[in-house]
Structures are given as structure tokens and as C-alpha cells.
């Protein structure tokens, strides 16, 4: 096992007639947090989607602990220790918060009483009053917090967080940053449109513009 939890090499993605990513390369070392900063449409979300298997990869390599993910079916990738917080949260509105958090464990055939769930609850005591409520009835920022907790539950190796602070109040942003920084032994890849806000989390930042990494 090398020093990197995640290695992305020469990643290219094309959607319809548009090239979204061209030759994107970067690495996330074990246990560290790496940021991807760029404007709307720069390719941040597509990069994360390629890693979880939600974008059609045209060429390049994505390696998790050395293993090529492009050869792994998307629905098997979560089982490898990926935790994903999508930009638009994607909770199941009709289920409770607790059910949303247990669902990824059930889907993998585990009993829903995992240590990760407890970890998420310990890290975010703010979740306690929300657990029995329907996810669809939560406010925007409350949903973001639940989506982060869900990523923590499955993300034993790598967390992929797409704009975790968008729509989150300054007070809760500080708390979520604390939570992310306190995770032990997990590599984190975060996107953010604001380089200053990214520095709350990490100094290891790549800048992405029009589908290309232009600076690190």
C-alpha cells in the first residue's frame, strides 16, 4: 500500500458533446484532507462523481489504495469504504433521518448497529433531536448535516464532500469543519468554490478551471 489513499491520473470525462474533465491528475495521501477549488461548472462535481461511479469516465485511472476503481461497478464502490456527500444532499425524503443513516449499512447486508453510526452520532450531537424526523421535512442546512453523517457512516477510507458548507450557517460550518478535521485515519477530498473557506479545512488545495487542474 502506497502513501496515497486516492490517486487520480489523467482522468477525462465527456458528457454529450462537452468535454468536462481533461487529463485531471491529483492524489490524496492517507489520513489527509485535500481540497479542490473552482468556479461553478469547473469540473469539481464531475470529479467526485467519477470517483463514486456516477459519471462516464472516458479515460484515465482512479485508484483507491492502489486498486483501480474504474473496474469496479458503481454499486460496489461504497462497500470499499467510500462516503459521498453530494452537492444536492440526496436524502430519501420519506424516510427518517435514522433510516437514511442506516440504509447504506443495510444495503451492504450489515446490521444497522455499526460502530460508524455511533461515531457519526458522537461527532454530531446536533443530530439527536432530528433522528426520528422525516428527512424531507428538514431545513436545507439540517439535511446537509445528515448527508455528511451518512458519508461518515460508509466512508471508512475516503470521504468525498461536494461543497459541504453551501447553505450552511457560519455557526454550523465551523462545527462541520471541526467534525471533518477530527476524523481519524480517513482521507478526505472536499470541493469548495471559496479558497478562503477551504483553508478552514486544509492547505493542500488544487485549483480546477474548465476541467483542468491549473495549480496546486
Amino acid at each position: 500500500m502506497g502513501v496515497n489513499a486516492l490517486e487520480v491520473k489523467d482522468l477525462s470525462v465527456k458528457l454529450a458533446a462537452f468535454v468536462i474533465l481533461r487529463g485531471v491528475s491529483f492524489a490524496v495521501p492517507h489520513g489527509s484532507t485535500v481540497g479542490l477549488v473552482g468556479r461553478n461548472g469547473a469540473g469539481k462535481t464531475t470529479t467526485l462523481k467519477s470517483i463514486v461511479g456516477l459519471a462516464p469516465v472516458l479515460g484515465g485511472e482512479i485508484r483507491l489504495d492502489g486498486r483501480d476503481l474504474t473496474a469496479v461497478a458503481p454499486h460496489h464502490r461504497a462497500g470499499l469504504g467510500l462516503g459521498y456527500l453530494p452537492e444536492d444532499r440526496r436524502l430519501i425524503a420519506s424516510l427518517t433521518v435514522e433510516e437514511n443513516l442506516r440504509l447504506p449499512l443495510w444495503a451492504r447486508g450489515e446490521r444497522g448497529d455499526g460502530a460508524r453510526l455511533k461515531l457519526a452520532y458522537d461527532l454530531m450531537p446536533e443530530l439527536a433531536p432530528l433522528v426520528r424526523r422525516r428527512a424531507g421535512a428538514l431545513s436545507g442546512g439540517q439535511q446537509k448535516m445528515v448527508a455528511l453523517a451518512r458519508a461518515v457512516v460508509t466512508g471508512t477510507k475516503l470521504l468525498l464532500l461536494d461543497e459541504p458548507f453551501e447553505g450552511v450557517s457560519p455557526a454550523l460550518s465551523r462545527r462541520l469543519a471541526e467534525v471533518i478535521r477530527s476524523l481519524q485515519g480517513v482521507a478526505v477530498l472536499v470541493t469548495e468554490s471559496d479558497a478562503n473557506r477551504m483553508r478552514l479545512l486544509t492547505e493542500q488545495i488544487y485549483t480546477i478551471e474548465r476541467g483542468e487542474i491549473i495549480q496546486r
Binding site: R39, N40, A137, G140, Q142, D194
Partner: protein
């Protein structure tokens, strides 16, 4: 003094959660009001009540002297109250420009089933002009489904402003819009709206945006208005700093 909007004792709860708790506020014509507050403080619920998407348990909503409490959203919109997000719907399979043409047609009262073509030269030109300040002109021909999240947000605001409202409510207009672009967007938006004398209420988590563009700030906390006044005063209030910013 005449007001654009007044709420009197506005209250809404969901089961055991008191989302908006006895809120009374009066907003004068042309004011640009920012709403800040912790997540779950009741900001969106307030917007939903004013625009008719939710019915209050108690209280009244007066718009331009007229009681609009519990009027359905379509009627509220018809009276000149627009909001970003839902009105009019964004049709994901259509292009950006087509969505604008629909909004313009709706504004002119043209039914979508009517035979008159949606796309006239004049309307297309107006549509492109409308997209311009939001940086969306170059995406005019793209299907909406291909826009990034931030682009969708901007299109939503463009569509709401196309309705030529008297009162415009924007729920987090800049969230999802990258920091490099948010100030530019707010500059253009606010100057367009101010020139037209539109009264604006916007919910916002970015305190720099609030400070720069709001003439008045309402700080919500647990369904109540904790502070109301000039941005410099409200955002310096220790109780507000604790509830919203997380430090004293």
C-alpha cells in the same frame, strides 16, 4: 407610512416543531431586507408562508394593504410577489432560453396551450438580455439539465425577476454560486431591482453578502425575530453572533 408587506403574529408549527413563532414585521417599498439565522431557524418557512406555499396556523399577511393570508401561491404571484426556486418551474429537458421564453409568456398571461408561438424575435431578444447579467447568455442553447448547480440557481433568480414583481423573495440566492461570481451577480441583480423599485427579501448565510447588499437585516432564531435593524448593528449584536455565527 404605506408598507409593501406586513405580517402580524405569523405562526406555523409542524407537529412539535414551532418553525415560525408569532412573527410581526413591516417592510417599506424599495427596502432590501436580508434574513439571517441558524439552520432550522424558520427562514424558509417564513418565505413559504408569505408566498402562499404554506398556510399559517395563526396570524395575518398584508401585501400592499390587502389581506393575502392563505391565498394560494398562484394568486399571490399574480399580485406581483415572486420568489426564486419554484416559480415558474424550471423544465430540465428544455434549454435555458426556452425556460425564459415560458416565463415571459406567463408574465404576459399567455397560456402555454395557446397557438401563439412562444418564441418571437422580440421575446427572444428580451430573453437574452435578461440572461446577460447572470452570465447565462452563453448557455442559452444548452438544456437546463446540463447546467451546474450554481447555474440553476441563477436561472431561477432570472426567471423570478422576469415576472417583474413588486416584491421578490429569494431563498439563499448565492448558495451554490461560487464566491468568484457571487458579488458580481448580486451587484447586477440588486442594481436592476433597485432601478425598478422592487422590494427584496433575501435569505442568506454569507455575512459579507448581507453586509454589502441589505439595507436592513432580520435575524431569525428558533422561529422568532431576534434582532431587526441596520446590518452593522444586527450583526454586531452578541445574541445574534452567538446564534448565527457561533461565537460571541
Amino acid at each position: 407610512m404605506a408598507t409593501v408587506l406586513e405580517t402580524h403574529g405569523l405562526t406555523k408549527s409542524f407537529g412539535g416543531v414551532l418553525a415560525v413563532d408569532d412573527v410581526s414585521v413591516a417592510i417599506a417599498p424599495g427596502e432590501i431586507v436580508g434574513i439571517v439565522g441558524a439552520n432550522g431557524a424558520g427562514k424558509t418557512t417564513f418565505v413559504n408562508l408569505v408566498t402562499g406555499y404554506l398556510k399559517p396556523d395563526r396570524g395575518r399577511i398584508i401585501y400592499l394593504g390587502r389581506d393575502i393570508t392563505a391565498h394560494p401561491p398562484r394568486e399571490v404571484t399574480g399580485l406581483g410577489v415572486a420568489r426564486s426556486f419554484q416559480i415558474p418551474q424550471i423544465y430540465a429537458s428544455l434549454t435555458v432560453l426556452e425556460n425564459v421564453l415560458i416565463a415571459l409568456a406567463a408574465r404576459e398571461g399567455q397560456s402555454l396551450r395557446a397557438w401563439a408561438p412562444l418564441s418571437t424575435r422580440v421575446r427572444e431578444a428580451e430573453g437574452l438580455i435578461l440572461l446577460e447579467p447572470f452570465g447565462l447568455t452563453e448557455h442559452a442553447a444548452r438544456p437546463v439539465s446540463e447546467l451546474p448547480q450554481g447555474g440553476l440557481k441563477l436561472l431561477d433568480i432570472a426567471l423570478a425577476s422576469a415576472l417583474m414583481p413588486r416584491l421578490l423573495l429569494l431563498d439563499e440566492p448565492t448558495s451554490g454560486v461560487s464566491s468568484a461570481e457571487k458579488f458580481g451577480v448580486m451587484d447586477t441583480l440588486v442594481s436592476i431591482l433597485q432601478a425598478r423599485g422592487v422590494t427584496v427579501i433575501f435569505v442568506e448565510h454569507d455575512m459579507d453578502v448581507v453586509t454589502n447588499y441589505a439595507g436592513r437585516v432580520l435575524a431569525f432564531s428558533e422561529g422568532k425575530i431576534l434582532a431587526d435593524g441596520a446590518p452593522g448593528v444586527v450583526l454586531a449584536d452578541p445574541a445574534v453572533r452567538k446564534a448565527v455565527l457561533g461565537w460571541a
